[in-house]
């Protein structure tokens, strides 16, 4: 169930709905960008070989310069917004709330469903259910990032930010602090443990720490 080591932190090997949506977005962006790069390269080549002579200012400035990027960008923007909206944490019947508190150099996680329990550097969640992580920090700015599950969100002192994550399958997923926070930055990470239904019940009963 553990992904190959190479993909441990890979955003392009998603293991949850949010990361999948963004990975799809990335491939669309890549294809579009390669196409535009080739188009511009082709145009430069054409321009270079073309014999001297007047060109249409309208064609270059209005069509290529204004109309073309406007069209592409509006489409892109709408797509990005649509995905962004879908990824937002929204109330749902089976949504779970956990808290994540960052400090140099540790993460502490708490669970609404198991009051009083605090786990260090290991976040337990049930697989296949949306989880809202309420993120904050007690010292400097950090960020909560599980690349294979979702994008990152900062842990800002005094503020609580909520990130929706979900693991499609049970397993372990590497998490990182993704905002530079001083000398221990490199090693500042955590693990997300996604349990199957039985494992999650066991965790809630306090059997797995």
């Amino acid at each position: 169930m553990l992904a190959g080591c190479e993909e441990r932190l890979s955003t392009v090997h998603p293991a949850g709905p949010a990361a999948s949506a963004i990975a799809d977005l990335w491939w669309v962006l890549l294809i579009g960008s390669v196409a535009i790069t080739l188009l511009v390269a082709g145009l430069v080549l054409w321009a270079w070989r073309r014999p001297e002579g007047a060109v249409s200012e309208r064609r270059f400035v209005i069509w290529l310069g204004l109309a073309f990027p406007m069209t592409v960008l509006w489409a892109l923007l709408a797509y990005g917004l649509f995905i962004g909206e879908r990824l937002l944490p929204r109330e749902g019947p089976d949504t779970l709330v956990v808290t994540a508190e960052a400090r140099r150099y540790e993460w502490r996680f708490g669970y609404d469903d198991r009051p009083g329990a605090v786990t260090r550097n290991r976040l337990h969640i049930p697989a296949g259910r949306p989880v809202d992580v309420a993120i904050t920090s007690v010292d400097v700015v950090h960020a909560f990032w599980v690349p294979r599950l979702a994008g990152k969100l900062d842990a800002v002192p005094g503020h609580v930010n909520t990130l929706r994550i979900e693991a499609a399958q049970p397993g372990e997923y590497a998490g990182l602090s993704a905002e530079y926070n001083g000398p221990g930055y490199r090693g500042h990470g955590f693990t997300v443990i996604a349990h199957d239904a039985a494992g999650w019940q066991a965790f809630l009963q306090g059997e797995a720490p």
Partner: protein, 815 residues
């Protein structure tokens, strides 16, 4: 008088001091432009060496070459040096060197200010280098986020070096920007209307105005953070009503425009060079100008795209995402206009043109990855990874360094007066460009594979090793290329043969002079009738040397140039420039003591140095005053014009105006910070308010009314000065009613607001008294209208910020 005699006479008037002294007393823009560029090239080398250390460390996993303590200083200083000590000063140097030559003037608007800014840059840069050598360099990343950079988490002096050193260096950016703006608007050859102005000057104008409005938020942020670190004023401490996000807003309010401040001059160079290399005119000239302007405007509405992961509501993110993608439009307009220019012309593969092509190959990719990270969900993944590192280098190196290398090879014959002789430049090109893509292209992928930026090493087995070793090897290839460029420049400057005057067949005025340029640029100033004067009048250089233009008669034996009406280019008045002087370097050294006192916490030194700076400034300004009027003087071609001290809007007035633009942006940012904390920061409202009472407000109102009236009458300077003292009294009353500023960010912010008002009352007081002193000293009133208007400007500004600032501070106590 023949051309040679004219040359001798003008050279005597304009020459810098001989020998080593000349380095320190020169106020000539050609000298200072070259010095600026040389020093910024030095910083590029330093930043480049740091980059090589980074790449050496990251070449293999689990490298033990550098530990985090060193690595963190190195990447922070690499970013800081490249952005603040290389890119911006390189633009300043290029503009300082080129603008008067392109515009048909003999120097910049404020020659001593050029020198002052340059020396502030050198001294501030030296501070940063010292910290690096001493191993106490800043280590919180180039954007210095508190609370990581705050006193609790970074107790050492490291962060202070950044906050104080960079603020010191920014004096040079602000003074250069004021100077560039005024020069472009007023110091042009007669007949050069805005429509006939060279495209590079347009870009420089836009860039300079952006510096004036972009840097103040950073300067404010640095001051606030230093106040927090040094005196415990808790602007960014959430427990005391501050907010770490305030810094991020202020920083990126500067940081995003900064990127365009770096890109636009390069775009200006491209718009200048590419048409010449294609033997044609720029396609869509007006469109290109319009897109530069809209780029500048838009770039102030994008800063939040650096904060997509800080938890700002999605709707707001959507707005900034839209704005961020939208900047691609004016960028695209320029790129396609350049491609169209190549299409309509007859392009030639000279070295400068090769660099233009490498720009296309690189910057387009950087622009597209920029659009990618402007899409919010994608940025949630890419943010703070090597994807961003790769993106920003595609933009900065592709969009600034490559065009600047093109500019180097294009203008080097002008600077040295020699032909580019060796073919080393071509070899360098073929090392740098592939080396660059080898370094950074695959790093995008490393980012997507989860490699965070700013990690000092990494574990094997995550798919990053191959990418990193390729990047490191390629970066050394690129470094060898840069070393070759350096050798090429030195060799060319030293031994190449003399070249022709206009080797590329360009049409702009900088080629209408013998090279290397004489200190006076033009033996006489041309009358301009089109955008490419040299194409219309090929023997213009000869005519100018023969003295057939304006001011060709050196018999008044002083440094003179002409200014024009900004829009039409009609000649307006004569400016008499100061001669060589050590005052600028002295004043910047004293300014340095001010910052040094802050840095080493020798606070007694700070007021002493402040008084010293004020003294220097007064000596400086007094030297510009004239006792007796001269009336209109002949300037050649049958025209007579007044001198600057006898007109209503002299250069000093224009300079004050643009300085106040920067100052006003600073004040606006401060009000923004106040409102931000009030509405967003947790732990508000504070427990206690300032309670100045109605009498403080009454005193303020009295002073303000008096000041506004008295400033209007030159005779009433004593009343004008006294009104400032009255307003100052109200400020003191507010401060005395204040709760302890270390307890809550509210009180801390109000202290700064009121302090700012009092500082400006003091400045207005000094200008009023200074103006009064010229009258006491018996100067003819006809030499004073400009000075009087300058005092009005500062007085009105002081009234405005006092009413708003003290009002904003006092009103909550009433309601």
């Amino acid at each position: 008088m023949n051309a040679l005699e004219r040359h001798r006479a003008l050279s005597r008037i304009w020459a810098s001091d001989p020998g080593w002294r000349g380095w320190f007393t020169s106020v000539n823009h050609t000298d200072l432009g070259r010095m600026f560029m040389a020093v910024s090239a030095f910083f590029f080398i330093v930043g480049g060496i740091l980059a090589m250390l980074i790449r050496a460390q990251l070449a293999s996993p689990r490298s033990a070459f550098l530990g985090p303590e060193h690595y963190n200083q190195i990447f922070t200083m690499h970013g800081t040096i490249m952005m603040f000590l290389f890119a911006i000063p390189m633009f300043e140097g290029l503009a300082v060197y080129l603008l008067p030559k392109m515009l048909g003037s003999r120097d910049l608007a404020f020659p001593r200010l050029t020198a002052y800014g340059f020396w502030c840059y050198v001294f501030g840069g030296a501070m940063m280098i010292f910290s690096l050598l001493a191993g106490i360099a800043p280590d919180s990343g180039w954007f210095m986020y508190p609370p990581l950079s705050s006193a609790i988490n970074s107790p050492g002096i490291n962060s202070d070096f950044w906050l104080i050193g960079i603020t010191f260096v920014e004096i040079s950016a602000i003074s250069a920007a004021v100077e560039i703006t005024v020069t472009i608007l007023r110091y042009r050859a007669p007949g050069m209307s805005l429509a006939r102005m060279p495209i590079f000057a347009w870009y420089a104008l836009v860039t300079a105005v952006m510096i004036l409005t972009g840097f103040p938020p950073l300067i404010l942020g640095s001051i606030l953070l230093e106040l927090e670190r040094a005196f415990g004023l808790p602007f960014f401490q959430v427990a005391h009503g501050g907010d770490a996000l305030l810094w991020q807003h202020l920083f990126w309010l500067f940081g995003h425009p900064e990127v365009y401040i770096i890109f636009l001059p390069a775009a200006g160079a491209i718009s200048t060079i590419l048409p010449v290399m294609s033997r044609t005119r720029l396609l869509g000239h007006q469109w290109v100008i319009a897109s530069a302007v809209s780029l500048a405007v838009l770039s102030f509405g994008l800063w939040v795209h650096h904060m997509f992961t800080t938890g700002i509501p999605h709707l707001a993110l959507a707005f900034f995402s839209a704005a961020s993608t939208l900047v691609a439009v004016p960028t695209a307009v320029q790129i396609f206009a350049w491609i169209g220019t190549i299409a309509k012309g007859r392009p030639q593969m000279h070295l400068p043109m090769m660099w233009m092509l490498s720009f296309f190959a690189t910057f387009v990719i950087g622009g597209l990855t920029g659009v990618m990270v402007a899409v919010v969900p994608f940025d949630w993944q890419a943010h703070d990874t090597y994807f961003i590192v790769a993106h920003l280098h595609y933009v900065l190196i592709g969009g600034f360094v490559f065009p600047m290398l093109g500019a180097l090879y294009y203008w080097m014959p002008h600077v040295t007066g020699r032909k580019t002789f060796f073919k080393l430049g071509n070899t360098a090109f073929w090392l740098i460009v592939p080396g660059f893509h080898g370094t950074f292209l695959l790093l995008h992928w490393a980012g997507l594979l989860g490699m965070r930026r700013r990690i000092d090493t990494f574990d094997p087995g995550q798919g990053w090793e191959v990418i990193n070793i390729i990047a490191s090897v390629s970066s050394f290839v690129m470094a060898i290329g840069f070393a070759l460029v350096l050798i090429d420049v030195v060799v060319n400057a030293a031994v190449a043969i003399r070249g022709s005057r206009d080797p590329w067949g360009a049409g702009t005025l900088e080629w209408a002079m013998p090279t290397p340029a004489a200190p006076y640029n033009f033996a006489s100033l041309p009358q301009i009738t089109s955008r490419e004067p040299l194409w219309d009048t090929p023997d213009l250089p000869v005519q100018l040397a023969r003295g057939e233009g304006y001011l060709g008669d050196p018999s008044r034996n002083r440094r003179e140039t002409l200014t024009v009406e900004p829009a039409t280019g009609a000649p307006e008045y004569i400016v008499v420039f100061p001669g060589n002087t050590a005052l600028p370097i002295l004043m910047s050294a004293v300014t340095g003591l001010f910052f040094l006192g802050m840095l080493i916490k020798a606070y007694w030194l700070v007021p002493v140095a402040a008084v010293g700076v004020l003294g220097c400034a007064l000596v400086w300004a007094w030297g510009l005053q004239r006792r007796t009027p001269e009336g209109p003087l002949p300037v050649g071609r049958g025209l007579s014009l007044p001198v600057a001290s006898e007109v209503a809007h002299p250069p000093g007035w224009w300079g004050s105006l643009f300085l106040l633009l920067a100052d006003g942006t600073f004040f606006g940012s401060l009000l923004f910070g106040y409102a931000f904390l009030w509405t967003i920061a947790p732990n508000w409202p504070p427990q206690v308010w300032a309670q100045p009472g109605p009498h403080a407000i009454a005193i303020l109102a009295t002073g303000a009314v008096l000041a506004v009236i008295a400033a209007r009458y030159a005779r009433l300077w004593i009343l004008q000065g006294s009104a400032m003292i009255v307003m100052g009294a109200s400020g003191v009353l507010v401060l005395r009613s204040m709760p302890d500023p270390t307890v809550h960010a509210y009180a801390a912010t109000v202290w700064v607001l009121v302090g700012y008002a009092i500082l400006h009352q003091f400045i207005a007081f000094v200008t009023a008294v200074f103006h009064g002193m010229t009258r006491v000293a018996g100067h003819d009133p006809r030499t004073g209208p400009g000075l009087h208007r300058i005092t009005v400007l500062w007085s009105d500004y002081a009234v405005g910020v006092s009413v708003i600032g003290i009002g904003a501070a006092a009103i909550p106590g009433f309601v």
